[in-house]
Symmetry: C2
Subunit: 341 residues, 2 copies
């Protein structure tokens, strides 16, 4: 039952990051094989999802899935296969989604899991396009960005899991999509592979002016994944009555001091409606609407989707650190069980 | 026709303020007596309204009533008496509201004016409780703050024209009202005279913690008139799903550099809906609803209202400068015509 002839292995979260997140916040170690209690199932982890919110969770910020304490096994959503079941809804061989945690094997309550439909596509899609990033992109843009056909939609972290979908959905809704991403390579990917109308490199100088050139009529909708200086550059480019869907503030998560803004007054001058949102607090009926349309678009071949995948549980800490260093394109996944696809 | 035997006098706006607004941005000078053209009326100014938005207008920020250029006669709303009319809707002796400007006499198109009902109360009320500040307080709180009975409403610049009404309206809607104001005297006024449940002095240390003590269950609605450090202190005290009605950012208007925030992430963590608004862009039907309920409350004696009045056109520059120095309580008015009230 143990993988590679070894027992269980896990990643523990050792200490709170101060400033930059480092791999030294984690330790990979052997662990006892869990034994499922009544109502639980024993799971073999197939894929883990690596997401920006985890940085907030590590700081103990309330409202995220499980507040992490130092010394805990690292939490994280994933896809797993049922090895043994003591819950009536699951049988060995079933595939499930849940808060699996960073470990090869876990025993979890059946109630905490959700069955995964193997027929839709690669299993990892349930962590991305058809999982939280997809729902986040669709709900945030549709309900908080409220784009009208012909409007200009700007999205930061445009090469990331959420951002890459936001721009594609904006195009499907008849809008102009402008991405902001870090580096020429990501920008090229966003325009060439994802079909955005333009993509601006926030590492280059003069983002505010570059956006003014790219959107001379102004920006009606900004889907923000990063906050900080990028938000500050977008603010003076907003039109009267613009909407901001505030989905992430990666630039703030690693900040140890205050973050400076020059143009926050644009929120007032332009009568901006800004909505902070987190997919876990969005009404279930909106998530269902998102899942239905994303599935329809995916099956019709209308959505491009890219994953950055690394192999082995021990790559998870570096994968998470890399999210904040701009290291990945598309959805960041760790393939825990060799050979799964 | 000229007041005190002299001709016309006016205040010109000389140069753009950099940083702190100073009286030296203005010059008071004699001017020719205007002659009304066809369709215009000759007006004698009775009262001028002194408002924070003027600081933005002086910087040429778009969307405010009239973008000001250096050398222009200073713009400003006021109440005036018709001296001579070449417009069919007005007769000598009528009282009107409009963009009068800082001058003793003005000739303006009749179309740009609105008649004022002398029977309601002191004329200056039409610049405050029943004018833009009243409408701003009512619409901002009702439509963007959306308070529910039993919720806690916090308002900054609570002793000012807008803030003093926001807290009173919150109480009339069954909420708990907490003010934030500068100095013990203003705070005492806000609680004792205006009936707020509490008022915190932002000049004292530890505003963030003081608010946590005053609102241990958190803040559902923040009506912000100032931005900056006060906003930053309120942000971590917001509850999940809180609303911010962003009405003013006085702390930013005089800032020459960036403004630093420690807690902007609360917008995301607490899923906050923030709406910047300006009363001139609010739908007319909402302004009408505001005017109707404010009048009803005022006639029923349910709203307390205070003005700070100075006499003479030449006091207008100091009155405007004082707004940004925390010098006034209630609505700031300049009585231009002696003996009016």
């Amino acid at each position: 039952m143990a993988q590679d002839g070894h027992g269980n292995r896990q990643v523990r979260y050792l200490r709170r990051p101060v400033g930059r997140l480092e791999e030294s916040s984690f330790a990979v170690e052997d662990a006892p094989m869990p034994v499922p209690a009544e109502g639980e199932v024993l799971l073999r982890t197939l894929f883990l999802s690596i997401d920006p919110y985890m940085r907030r969770q590590m700081l103990g910020v309330g409202g995220y899935a499980v507040p992490l304490r130092e010394g805990d096994v690292m939490q994280g959503r994933g896809i797993a296969e049922v090895v043994e079941s003591r819950h009536p809804a699951y049988r060995p061989g079933d595939v499930v989604f849940g808060e699996i945690g960073w470990r090869l094997y876990a025993a979890l309550p059946g109630e905490s899991l959700r069955p995964v439909d193997r027929s839709v596509g690669p299993l990892s899609l349930h962590l991305g396009l058809l999982g939280s990033p997809g729902l986040t992109a669709w709900v945030g843009l549709t309900d908080y960005g409220r784009p009208q056909p012909g409007e200009t939609v700007v999205v930061s972290a445009a090469a990331g899991a959420v951002g890459s979908l936001v721009g594609q959905i904006a195009k499907l809704r008849g809008c102009r999509a402008i991405g902001i991403a870090g580096g020429a390579e990501k920008c090229a990917h966003v325009v060439r592979d994802l079909g955005f109308d333009a993509c601006l490199d926030h590492r280059a100088d003069g983002l505010e002016e570059a956006l003014r050139q790219a959107a001379p009529e102004g920006v009606q909708v900004y889907f923000d994944n990063v906050g900080g200086a990028v938000l500050d550059a977008v603010l003076p480019n907003l039109t009267m009555g613009a909407r901001i869907a505030l989905c992430g503030m990666i630039a703030h998560y690693n900040a140890t001091g205050p973050v400076a803004f020059r143009h926050l007054q644009s929120l007032l001058d332009k009568c901006v409606a800004l909505t902070g949102f987190r997919i876990g607090f969005v009404p279930p009926e909106r998530r269902a609407a998102a899942a239905a349309e994303l599935m329809e678009w995916f099956r019709a071949g209308k959505l491009r989707w890219r994953e950055t995948v690394s192999d082995g549980l021990e790559t998870a800490p570096a994968a998470l650190v890399g999210l904040f260093e701009g290291a990945n394109t598309g959805k960041r996944i760790v393939r825990v069980a060799p050979g799964e696809g």
